[in-house]
């Protein structure tokens, strides 16, 4: 995994998301989720290409149920975009890169 992407856990989520200087896109994913694997390389590209606009974090829902539950994640991949600690966009399901970027950009 790219070192541009931060791994989040139940323990670190609030601190990392709360103190992020740029908007942070959090990928709720799991090892057993096929569509999550499909978008993983897209997110790695975005992490590099869009690093001036937003940062990306990943949260494994298997190991971090509390955070997934807190944000009512019921389908993965779910991407939540946080600005100043608040959810400003919610993208559910794998999508092509262009569509993902368009939806993210619309909420930046």
């Amino acid at each position: 995994m790219s070192d541009q992407i931060t791994t989040l856990t139940d323990a670190t989520f609030d601190e990392v998301v709360g103190s992020a200087e740029k908007p942070i896109l959090v990928d709720f994913w799991a090892e057993w989720c096929g569509p999550c694997k499909t978008i993983a390389p897209i997110l790695e590209e975005l992490a590099t290409e869009q690093s001036d606009k937003f940062v990306i974090g990943k949260l494994d829902v298997d190991a971090n149920v509390a955070t997934a539950t807190k944000f009512s994640v019921m389908s993965i991949p779910t991407l939540l975009l946080f600005k100043d600690g608040e959810v400003v966009a919610r993208l559910v399901g794998a999508k092509p890169k262009g569509a993902l970027l368009q939806e993210i950009s619309a909420s930046l």
Partner: protein
């Protein structure tokens, strides 16, 4: 700017990728339009990308995961030089040769021209088309047990359908759910014997026979299903917090409607072999088959389509 190819393959499930392997080995330099990422079956790799264990694909003694099988087929097609493109065909013109395909709506000029086309666009899941379904999709209603089953730990959930895919989902979901009710509108299942026996023997699985869903209930997440008994007409509520839909498939033929002959069910008519009603256009896999619909039969018809295309191209003096 348009790319010409001898063989354009549309679709990248077992049919499309097997056709690609055969056509590439036959030095036909096929281009494969794989599709785009999604969480439905409409994605590179097709329906197997949202299944788990495939136990009946020959050669895999201990079974193989659907996505792993597709990853291997893709790698095999690449090994022989198939040109795989992660995009979708938005428009296809089969009225003149070479055939033409547009992969981006922004361009007026076609992206590809092709001497022959292998259509392997597969089939997609049918939805219930009842009130509440759209609103609650991804909020307790799902078409992908392997994607979303995890979120229903300890809950009571329903699987709608009576075929192999419904029972496969039901059995998979028993890993997480407290109970799984299979809701089926008839009093017998279409599924294979082995899947029926496994489901009936499972102590978490229950069946609601002769039961049709009329509403998915819940405001911002599923709280139940409104169902009607198809024999007595009586209506009742099933208290479930998760609903998985597996009621069958429709072929993906929107690209060829009005261009290829389709049967009464909307599937592409093929024969002899994989020949369609337009010379030079071949069809393989679930887009032309509602009888067998297996990974292995799809792959088999993909091989047939590549061989048919190769021989047809030879008759055209290629």
């Amino acid at each position: 700017m348009n790319h010409h190819t001898e063989v354009l393959i549309i679709g990248s499930g077992p049919a499309g990728l097997t056709a690609a392997i055969y056509a590439a080995r036959a030095q036909l330099s096929p281009v494969v339009i794989e599709g785009e990422p999604s969480s439905t079956t409409d994605q590179p790799g097709g329906q197997l990308m949202v299944t788990t264990e495939v136990e009946n694909f020959p050669g895999f003694v201990d079974g193989v995961q659907g996505p792993d099988l597709m990853t291997s087929m893709r790698a095999q097609a690449l090994r022989f030089g198939a040109d795989l493109r992660v995009t979708k065909v938005h428009k296809l013109d089969l009225s003149q040769r070479p055939f033409r395909a547009w992969t981006s709506e922004d361009h007026e000029a076609p992206s590809f021209s092709a001497d022959s086309v292998i259509l392997a666009t597969g089939a997609r899941s049918l939805m219930l088309n009842v009130p509440g379904e759209d609103r609650l999709l991804s909020h307790g209603l799902s078409t992908c047990a392997t994607c979303d089953g995890f979120f229903f730990r300890g809950q009571d959930i329903a699987v709608i359908g009576g075929g192999d895919s419904a029972l496969e989902e039901a059995l998979f979901l028993t890993r997480f759910a407290r109970t799984v009710t299979v809701v089926h509108r008839r009093d017998e299942l279409r599924a294979s014997k082995i899947m029926q026996e496994r489901s009936r023997a499972h102590d978490k699985i229950d069946f609601a026979w002769n039961t049709q869903v009329t509403d998915v209930l819940g405001h911002d997440r599923v709280s139940g299903l409104r169902v009607v008994d198809t024999v007595t007409g009586e209506s009742r509520t099933l208290d479930v917090t998760g609903v998985f839909v597996a009621i069958g498939h429709v072929p993906n033929t929107s690209l060829v409607e009005g261009q290829l002959e389709l049967d009464d069910n909307g599937y592409v008519i093929t024969g002899p072999g994989t020949y369609t009603s337009v010379e030079g256009v071949f069809a393989a896999g679930d887009v032309q088959d509602h009888e067998y619909r297996q990974a292995i039969t799809s792959a088999g018809s993909g091989a047939m389509a590549a061989i048919d295309a190769e021989r047809w191209l030879e008759t055209q003096g290629r």
